[in-house]
Point group: C2
């Protein structure tokens, strides 16, 4: 069969991996690579000409598939739009552009009769996208949840295993190339929010506007929090969730959580990702693997390219490969309605009856407590650890506000959601 | 688009789940179900006529896809052959028939230009087959390893969590329907061997004759072994492995192993399966989920059917969906060449110098020891626990034989392979 001709935009970390893996694929021919600066040093030798003019790829009638591995937002969006207009099929790793402009791009692809493959945009090398869209085809997916960012998982793992502070662990991650100089995108949960938007589109047919996703990062997680978690049988993970609710809306959120040590997600360590998919027929599936890195991400990009190229041999294949994604954005539920157990640590004046007062406040909000433990007293100050049963966030917030008004209350030292099975 | 017409053979546990899930699929029409005995009570109502005559399905020109969910060997094989001869596409959950007659059946499918889909034959609801064949398309798969049998994992999990003996745990599993009246197929590792043959075909292009697969079951695992494992930081799991070796042969084997508690496989509990796939680009992927059960297995069968039916809309699709599987059987390596650390517990006469003698014997076979610990002495008998570094099996066997000849040696109480990262 004729070799399918490809153009690649971007020759950085992911692009280099792609070039390396494509060299082993006899049915594919990489014709040209577009780069920002021809003079830059590359970690590997290109196997085809480079150009600074991306039009040489987008306007080349021989090129059938454009692989976008440049990342970033506006420029990449412009190239993807132009490539789709020219009826090129797309393989992309760009979660930010898909999350922000997915409805428009998929509508354009449908109009032009071409396909967008995006396995690499979520969870790096883990074939999560194909699992949801093909492997679990017979299932209604009710939720996708888990660890979707390798950088923050690496930082949290280092904090625990090396007893480091957040700043120390971040510095180490930056030194090793796991975190960027400006870590905002990872540590504040933007990256996970983009991925959740994409996963929502696959599982629930609609992208979610990233700015409407409830988002808390890991900047405020302290070494003491990590130690507390451990003492109570948990490990802190940055967990992202997209859960379909009955009214057709989604609960989409990313925040740190206490994961029970016995739960498989707790053993997802270092820069790995781990994702739980809940389907009505299959129950729960867990996938764990490298969420980033040059070759793992390239593995997803090139896997997509091979599958797409074989499919191109089939006439009228585009319908078959177009995921059922609506052109409208999805709606999200009020994040306060989310229900889970909470772990709270507060500092109090150690006066008699404090535990009783706390119990009464939570009781008046109809929150059942799983445990309430007073830790060692020091000069009339004591720490109290409260673990609630699953309760709506907004109710727990109200109970906390009420405690703050009490004479015994000094400080809310920590407040974490506890991970439970998501249905 | 026209509804694709299906016939189903078998209306037991898996078949009932299939009927249930197909009812939700508007693009598929189940026309007839073949059963052994029309009078038998069914857990659910059929949505179409039943027949005792399977030819009414195989010979019906309107039926495009035959779903085989009857299980067993000779009769199922006969039906599959006849269906392929009639150019029906096949969806099957039958690991035994695929493992034993895979080369013949896939050759016949190729000759007739039809496809065999078999996601449900391995790891129940986990989309492992599509992950290896499509999701990790850009990878050379070097090994597939893990927990592939839910029944034995359930028994081993119960033994640990309830302190039961093997017989007690088996009886409980039978009572709950997780084990069959004759448990041979599961507990002696045949079921895993069949699955390994299929996984070898996907990962290494050749089925492996089940009888050439090295196989040890869990019948001899004692409550004491489970406790020893726990004391030393391990958990016993029945692990199946297919590993590609450099000479084009495969190391294919199933036996109990000590899995370190910190390894994600150790947290795969109850009747779940957990599989590690090693690809040259992606590194390691872990998938965990329900390995059996009516709806999970049906989820895989119906997922296959939907994907196959959509593909049928495309002309000439069969080439695209035929996995690259050779018609010859694959060759296996000598199982003694497998190398891993070993955990040995032996009873000795407690005389001075025993540890030194043991150390010398292992040293003379070039086996490095990770630790050697003497457990409490009782009336001049003591237990010695030896943990070796990774060493070839045949060498460890020789060292054991040599110890058996020594005056100090009384009994080999246990001998387990320790799970390490498989490359």
């Amino acid at each position: 069969m004729a070799r399918v001709v490809l153009g690649l935009i971007g020759f950085g970390t992911v692009g280099s991996g792609v070039v390396q893996l494509l060299a082993q694929q006899k049915s594919l021919r990489l014709k040209k690579i577009a780069v920002k600066d021809l003079k830059r040093e590359r970690p590997i030798q290109a196997t085809c000409p480079l150009t600074e003019n991306v039009s040489e790829i987008i306007d080349d009638p021989e090129i059938e598939i454009v692989i976008e591995a440049m990342g970033g937002e506006h420029e990449a969006l412009d190239y993807l739009r132009r490539a789709l207009e020219k009826r090129k099929h797309i393989v992309t790793a760009n979660k930010e552009v898909l999350a922000k402009y997915g409805p428009e791009l998929f509508a354009l692809a449908r109009e032009k009769g071409v396909a967008i493959f995006f396995e690499a945009s979520v969870a790096g090398g883990i074939p999560l996208i194909s699992t949801i869209s093909k492997g679990l085809e017979a299932n209604d997916i009710s939720s996708v949840t888990g660890i979707l960012n390798g950088t923050t998982n690496f930082i949290l793992s280092s904090m625990e295993s090396n007893g480091q502070s957040y700043d120390e662990a971040l510095a180490k991650a930056q030194e090793l190339g796991f975190a960027e100089a400006d870590p905002t995108n990872d540590v504040d949960g933007f990256d996970v929010a983009y991925k959740l938007s994409i996963l929502s589109a696959l599982a629930h047919e609609r992208f979610i506007k990233p700015e409407s996703i409830f988002r808390e990062g890991i900047r405020n997680v302290t070494a003491e929090d990590i130690a507390s978690a451990r003492n109570f049988g948990y490990r802190i993970k940055l967990v992202g969730t997209s859960r379909f609710s009955e009214d057709g809306k989604c609960d989409v959120r990313v925040h740190p959580m206490f994961v029970p040590l016995s739960h498989p997600l707790a053993s997802v360590s270092g820069s790995n990702n781990g994702i739980l998919v809940q389907g009505h027929a299959v129950g729960e599936i867990l996938m764990v693997g490298p969420g980033a890195g040059s070759l793992p991400t390239a593995s997803a990009v090139v896997g997509d390219t091979i599958n797409l190229a074989s499919a191109l041999q089939l006439p009228d294949f585009a319908t078959y490969f177009q995921p059922a994604i609506k052109s409208e954005w999805g709606a999200v539920v009020n994040p306060g309605s989310w229900s889970c157990p909470f772990f709270l640590q507060i500092t109090v004046n150690d006066s008699p009856g404090v535990i009783g007062q706390i119990g009464t406040i939570f009781g008046s909000h109809k929150i059942s407590l799983a445990s309430i433990v007073q830790k060692g007293t020091k000069e009339k100050h004591a720490d109290v650890v409260i673990v609630t049963q699953a309760s709506p966030e907004e109710t727990v917030r109200k109970a906390i506000e009420e405690m703050k008004k009490c004479a015994f209350f000094e400080k809310l030292k920590s407040c974490f959601r506890i991970f439970e099975k998501v249905e």
